[in-house]
């Protein structure tokens, strides 16, 4: 089955200015996203995993142009959406939607949940007015909420229910890609499972493509086909799920995997604990950004910045694997 590439991200950079001198020129940047490239295929789920401050959320926002990328390009079905403006950009928004992390903050407290699902449909004028309402009811059902909840307001719902509303809203425009930015991180574990199952069901039913951003590898493991591991705005490793878990190459990935709780005491490996804390993205370490915490760091790691190397669709950025490029 030939896979269709619907999103191509090339050398995405998103820097935030940190200091300005008297003339307004920027002197230092926070490199939230530093040269990230990946492809997204139709129907797959790409997981992006990293700790807080790694820049993973910024990637999602940059893709949607909620935050303006500083460099690089993003191609959606061949069209360069990095430079789009105005009406064109607005129209493209239909196809890529986001589900936000905080279920309490991502819904306007003053409008009913039904209205907030209908609003985007009306804005883009893709459905007839009468159909919008019907569609909203249908979406409510699809995400597991009672149709009667249409008139209720966000404060009347629990976190999990609000997240469902967020999903229904994201689906309103019939998008092709959905970016879930830590969509389950604020929820209780039991609710997390429900929502993740919902994601799965919806994907199968509607043929959606996901980018699933999270800090919890176990969550990502369940839903994803491919996984990107991010650290300080850089890709440390990309691979499909099986390869990543069977053969994690990057020390960081190994540490993350070792941290996943395993129920069976016999199957537990030794937990790798990383020393130190994640450095500030404004002052990354020289050489490999992970070198200050890496348990396998060599001298060269502190000096030279490693490139991303490809081993048959398994990419890794680590001096341990710098071989003669094929």
């Amino acid at each position: 089955m030939k896979k269709q590439k619907i999103l191509e991200v090339k050398n995405l950079k998103t820097y935030f200015p940190l200091k300005r001198n008297y003339f307004g020129q920027v002197t230092n940047y926070t490199k939230a996203v530093d040269d990230v490239s990946f492809d997204l295929y139709k129907g797959e789920v790409l997981g992006i995993v990293g700790e807080t401050g790694s820049g993973k959320s910024t990637i999602g926002r940059s893709l949607l142009r909620l935050v303006e990328p500083t460099g690089g390009s993003i191609f959606y079905r061949g069209e360069n959406i990095t430079e789009m403006k105005g009406e064109k950009l607005r129209k493209i928004r239909k196809n890529i939607q986001m589900i936000f992390q905080d279920p309490f903050a991502s819904l306007n407290p003053r409008i009913s949940i039904g209205e907030c699902i209908v609003e985007p449909m009306k804005e883009h004028a893709i459905y007839r007015k009468s159909d919008c309402f019907q569609r909203a009811l249908m979406l409510l059902e699809k995400v597991g909420l009672d149709k009667d909840y249409y008139i209720r307001y966000p404060h009347e719902f629990s976190g999990g229910q609000r997240q469902r509303v967020g999903i229904a809203r994201a689906l309103a425009l019939d998008p092709e890609i959905i970016i879930a930015d830590e969509a389950v991180s604020s929820l209780d574990v039991s609710v997390q499972a429900q929502i993740i199952n919902l994601f799965s069901d919806l994907q199968q039913e509607l043929g959606l493509t996901y980018i699933f951003i999270a800090h919890d590898l176990s969550v990502v493991k369940f839903v994803s086909n491919s996984i990107i591991v991010i650290y300080l705005g850089e890709i440390m490793e990309i691979a499909n799920k099986e390869d990543l878990f069977n053969q994690p190459l990057h020390p960081y990935t190994q540490a993350l995997i070792s941290a996943i709780p395993v129920p069976d005491p016999n199957k537990r490996g030794r937990r790798i604990i990383l020393k130190g804390e994640i450095p500030s993205p404004a002052h990354p370490p020289t050489g490999c950004k992970f070198s200050t915490r890496c348990f396998k760091a060599m001298d060269v790691c502190h000096e030279i910045h490693p490139d991303l190397v490809n081993f048959d669709n398994h990419q890794v950025r680590c001096h341990l694997y710098q071989k003669k490029e094929e």
Binding site: M98, F100, L173
Partner: protein, 288 residues
């Protein structure tokens, strides 16, 4: 589909309760209601005065016939004060309308877009807030002529900065919320986001300030009328005081100046108290 707000009521009930806990706010509300009632029922309370009164009636102290006494033309002061309520409300309403129409959009755009829009908007606002406004209003009124609506227009044009400033602050805070980001990601047009999502959520402090603007509007109008710039045909409280001053009987006929001044104070205090009560009730942090 009917949207019934019964579930909304829970929130308003709490706000209402909080409001009534605050003594000053309640007093203000009562005062404002009294003002409105007087204005509406003016014809039933006192007959309007015009022209000249009887010579025998000039500058009479309060009596059963003339509860507030009479003025220098022999006209009943009680009636003048009662009917002055209508003028005050008219001016207050017009001023608020203009201040809102100019100030709210400027504040919203400044708060939402930030950057140069905000610098421009707030720069302009700060200029007006720094400058002495009464002299400016005096010049404008002297030039534009003294029609009550012109006066209201002038006062309104110098009142918008107050509204713009508070609107910008509220708008900026709301703009930082995630649901605004969500609205952007859904491709909702900027104008709709600003005037629907942002405005609705920022409305509380704006309403508080609009209430206070009514109070300051009357202070300004009274001052302008007192200085002789008011509408000669409509007798606002300030105008009555102007007549009092001009007649030279300001002190000897104490009733001439006392009652209109009390009316002004009552009006202003009521709206101020109401605004303060609203502010305390609508501020979630202080409600702890």
């Amino acid at each position: 589909m009917n949207k019934f707000r019964s579930y909304q009521q829970g929130k308003w009930l709490r706000i209402g309760q909080s409001f009534f806990e605050h003594r000053l706010g309640v007093i203000g509300l009562i005062g404002v209601i009294v003002v409105f009632l007087i204005a509406i029922f003016a014809p039933f309370i006192a007959t309007p005065v015009s022209g000249y009164g009887e010579v025998k009636d000039i500058l009479n102290s309060p009596s059963l016939e003339h509860i507030f006494g009479t003025d220098a033309l022999g006209l009943d002061l009680f009636s003048q004060v009662i009917w002055g309520t209508r003028i005050s409300l008219q001016v207050g309403f017009l001023v608020v309308l203009i201040a809102a129409l100019v100030g709210i959009p400027i504040g919203l755009f400044s708060g939402y877009y930030g950057g140069w829009v905000s610098t421009l908007g707030m720069g302009l606002t700060n200029v007006f807030l720094t400058l002495p406004l009464l002299p400016l209003m005096i010049i404008a009124a002297a030039v534009l002529g003294s029609n009550i609506n012109n006066v209201a227009l002038i006062i309104g044009l110098f009142s918008w900065p107050q509204i713009a400033r508070i609107t910008r602050a509220a708008a900026a805070e709301v703009t930082g919320m995630q649901y605004i980001e969500a609205a952007k990601s859904l491709g909702i047009r900027a104008n709709r986001i600003i005037f629907h999502h942002v405005l609705v959520n920022a409305s509380a402090p704006i309403l508080v300030n609009l209430t206070i603007v009514v109070a300051t509007a009357i202070i300004s109008e009274s001052a302008l009328s007192f200085l002789g710039l008011g509408d000669p045909l409509t007798w606002s409280w300030g105008k009555i005081l102007h007549n009092a001053h001009r007649s030279g009987a300001f002190i000897s006929s104490w009733w001439f100046s006392l009652f209109p001044s009390l009316a002004i104070t009552f009006f202003v205090v009521s709206f101020n108290f109401l605004g303060m009560g609203m502010r305390e009730a609508l501020n979630p942090r202080l409600r702890e």
